[in-house]
Symmetry: D2
């Protein structure tokens, strides 16, 4: 059965596996102190146009969010996020487990609005009781969001300005950043590095077996960050596993290429839905496509293809998500076309 269930159904880009084999018996230092980690960091710095960036490799998205956020917040601070933000709703309370509140703003197609952020911060400090409340200590956004939507360069700039004004970092969760960069957008990787104080480049969902690259852009890496990673259980003895993967992803534009492949698949699939008159739930410019299916049709389809339930639309219709990825094969889309 073909699957459009998510963007982590397959293993890794063939090139990554190839490099793992080639380097396998080299004896390397542990914990990320190896030449592949170094090389990967250097390539990422270049790709970001940020020579002073400090980079760490972690294993997965929730781990990264937990470690980055808890390391950058003071105990009396929380992180601001959209109500639908991953940290807010789908990380099993990882942030709270580290001692910090997620302070939620309304979501607009998965995004937060600069104006609402500014108001929140202004209201907080205007509240005479704010010393009895959780201080806003960071802003978390994801790009793409949970709905596959993207911030514009203008929006990022506005958010960054507000954060600067309140002296709090802007953190971008780039679990699917590769798809954002390959989409029709005015936001480049360099922009991300410019506007954000810290962000991560997602590997797991964009061609790696596992791994996310955290990029601190403003000489702002928390003191003893390696020790913090270790303490929270995020330090791999064989740091090479992450270094080699990111070194490969950032060699000859592989990361962007993988993103572009997915975007091509997304365009093709969207065209099919459009042609077949399936209504879209949201205009999502990246690799996640949200459509409304009649329940009958949904049940029929489910026998032959995997996709994700999103939410009930009405009594006879359901919103579902089809995800394409770096690994999607054109024949799968053709097969799906037959079934629709």
């Amino acid at each position: 059965m073909i699957s459009f269930e998510n963007d982590y159904s397959e293993g890794a880009s063939e090139k990554i596996l190839q490099r793992l084999i080639e380097t396998n018996m080299e004896q390397l230092s542990g914990y990320g102190n190896d030449r592949y980690c170094e090389s990967a960091k250097e390539k990422i710095r270049k790709a970001c146009g940020c020579p002073e960036a400090e980079i760490y490799f972690l294993s997965g998205g929730t781990q990264t969010n937990r470690i980055v956020i808890s390391s950058m917040l003071q105990p009396y601070e929380g992180v601001i996020a959209a109500q639908t933000g991953h940290v807010s709703s789908h990380e099993a309370g990882a942030i709270e487990s580290s001692g910090h509140k997620v302070l939620t703003l309304p979501q607009h197609d998965g995004k937060i609005e600069p104006k609402e952020l500014a108001d929140y911060l202004n209201d907080f400090y205007g509240d005479g009781n704010h010393e009895h409340m959780v201080f806003p200590g960071m802003v978390y956004i994801s790009h793409p969001t949970e709905y596959g939507t993207l911030y514009t360069k203008g929006e990022l700039a506005e958010l960054a300005d507000i954060c600067l004004e309140y002296h709090i970092p802007l953190y971008l969760d780039g679990a699917r950043l590769g798809y954002a960069l390959a989409a029709d957008t005015d936001v480049t990787l360099k922009d991300v590095a410019d506007y954000c104080d810290v962000f991560y480049i997602g590997g797991t969902k964009v061609g790696a077996l596992c791994g996310e690259a955290v990029v601190f852009t403003k000489e702002n890496v928390p003191a003893h960050f390696l020790t913090r990673i270790k303490q929270q259980g995020g330090l791999l003895a064989k740091g090479r596993l992450l270094g080699i993967q990111f070194d490969t992803l950032f060699t000859e534009n592989l990361y962007l290429e993988l993103g572009r492949h997915a975007m091509k698949c997304a365009e093709k699939l969207k065209a099919i839905f459009k042609e077949k008159k399936y209504p879209f739930y949201i205009d999502s410019p990246t690799n996640q496509i949200f459509v409304v299916l009649e329940n009958e049709k949904m049940k029929e389809l489910e026998k032959k293809v995997k996709f994700s339930f999103w939410e009930k639309a009405d009594d006879t219709h359901t919103v579902v998500r089809f995800a394409v990825s770096w690994a999607t094969q054109e024949e799968m889309i053709d097969e799906l076309q037959e079934l629709l």
Copy 2:
């Protein structure tokens, strides 16, 4: 330069890489709900002689210790360990960071003594103030220990009896369990499963790229353990990465074979040290060899071979550690022999 610095200098057993390639484009469910995880679990259950065992895969040792220990303790409980136990001294405070004290017992060649454990527990409950103290809620041992030493079957039985009496679980850290099982010992994997309430089978140091298999042997897996793993950042989206590796390690005895290879190397290396009259610091029966070097000799050696500083012996001598592993090549030992 050849390295005997540790047992995680190389990548993974070739067979593991082979399987990763073969399965790479299969579309599998995430978070460990795939057929390879299932198959690996079934094989481990068999190898343990424990059909009711419940098994989870995690990425590394500190992560595993943190998640297992914090999930099995109540907030008012701590974990008992040797002063030199990994959780006590070399995990950057991971256990404390999760809210729990490590209660230390003296170490004897890296091990705790059943008698001292029994006394500790007896004294605790005999202390009229014990409600103002941290309750002992678990016993942590490692096998092999930090010094490469092993518990005997009799010692494990004694520790298990004491834990049973006090209704606290016995937890065995098997980061290097493969080397323990292949050593000259009366403790089998089945014994470990019999005596311990929970233990983990180390992959990272015994042939895997990453990964540890946690085995709950007494139908005692903590409620919603998957959610707890997610919360602490230990859940990989591509759970297959761990499932495929452990499925391979437990196919055709690969795990034991890798251990035996290391033991053969260790025997060979020990014979060389013996022959060359280097004094041993401790009689370590597994893959870590501790010898005392003259400082002059040490400095000379360091130019050509990597090994670990352990501690100062006296003003002119140093204790150092040579580690062999599943990946050690016979020629490396020959080369080292030349240099000694």
Copy 3:
């Protein structure tokens, strides 16, 4: 300057001070193991009509909420509360600091609606991804709420039924319970004990120097609760300080009497506002009165009397709160009447 700023502006009921003096030089055991704590517990059990109740004394509301909630939740669980609930908004992240998320429901005059609670729980378990989310592990309500409003007996019964169905405790924050019990309501202390699994009787805001009495009603006190209190810094060496106060509060109905005095003051003050045509912001039946003032009038008043800013109503009006209490003197109200 007279103050209606809050209900903790004065010290304690004269009778409490009297008892502190009378018992001062008695040598008593520490940590709550004294005869006054015992006597207070027994009187509270009787007042609650709950002979099996287990009772602990703590120092303040946030401390109580933090200790009770964190002791009754599993690490993977959060507590459900109204968005305006004290734990959600005005405890500086105490609950999150203990590792748990506050899961918010909409507030209706400060209360949560049984129907919305039931839907939330039903939706949670219906969500295929719920293992990646925070489990609802407890329901928190306050009575009176932040707006001084009260649950009806019928509402409490409904909430209790839902909690029972999902096997989660219902917890009632009674920081101002004395005022609730003395108000025009069908909810008695016995009802609170019947419907709630745990609740606290507020002392600080109802006549004590400090102190809250936590009542576990269903033989459900968390294991080693004393140790948990100690661990979180809530155990007073001189437990007598709390025992003597609650013993006094529950002697000859003092607690209820103090509440009734405040209710009488509240009625008098409300009548004055009504007569003077000040619009009420909310119909609040307990000791907090919310009225809308013209900004001019507000500024004038502020020179002579203290009250609390609540929120802006519109550009020329403000919602403010006047609080009366066990300590309010009739002359203060007369004086305020002059100024209005």
Copy 4:
């Protein structure tokens, strides 16, 4: 039955109760923002000879240790203490519960030795693996110690020098500081303020109903300390309760006077033990007296007087503790003399 069980058996100094009554109906702001807190702080600053000191009032010793230590440590840091330190052994894991390890040094009559502290710190930074370990972030001492012993001025100076060298604060737990200051010692309150970065003046055990005054001496109060106190449940709504007590304790030398009374009682009691040839377990210069009793004698005494079991001396003898305090009445000592 008379009791020498501890120094918190009675209520409070009569003068404190008197002041509570006199101020009872004054309407004061909450959370420590009242004139009595201000006045108490000013008097303490003077008594410490430290005009820039910042002072906060908390309710008890464990609460104070937990809040101060967790607020001054970074997440990757632990606190160094003697193995017998209160934070290490008798606070139910409060420090670990806040996420931090207690790093223990050997105790010498309850004290740590400057030389051993210096070695520990030197060894830590000399260890190539220290990034995988808990960083020493603070030094905790108590004065008097658990054994009633005192640091000399010279020892405090040495400890302070070492802390300065490593840029970590020296924290002194003064739960019984009043008895230390009144003892035969070269350490004054001003010395404590000079050498320590933070310390607390114990009220609970020296004449108050409850309360400890935390003194930050080097303009080093952690950011938003009030919010941290609130978050950990340590903020009393009626801060006046603590302010009035400390204001009284630091009026006309009451604090010192209470200490001196206890010292006089201690001298008298020690003389009796000496005369009656009871061997002392340790030469304890403050209000705790440790003697060795024959088990027969102990059992006989226990019928008429309360004291504390400390530890078994041998099969026929036991070490016990007699504590005197600000509240000890001369007749009690006379009565005890009869019984010895």
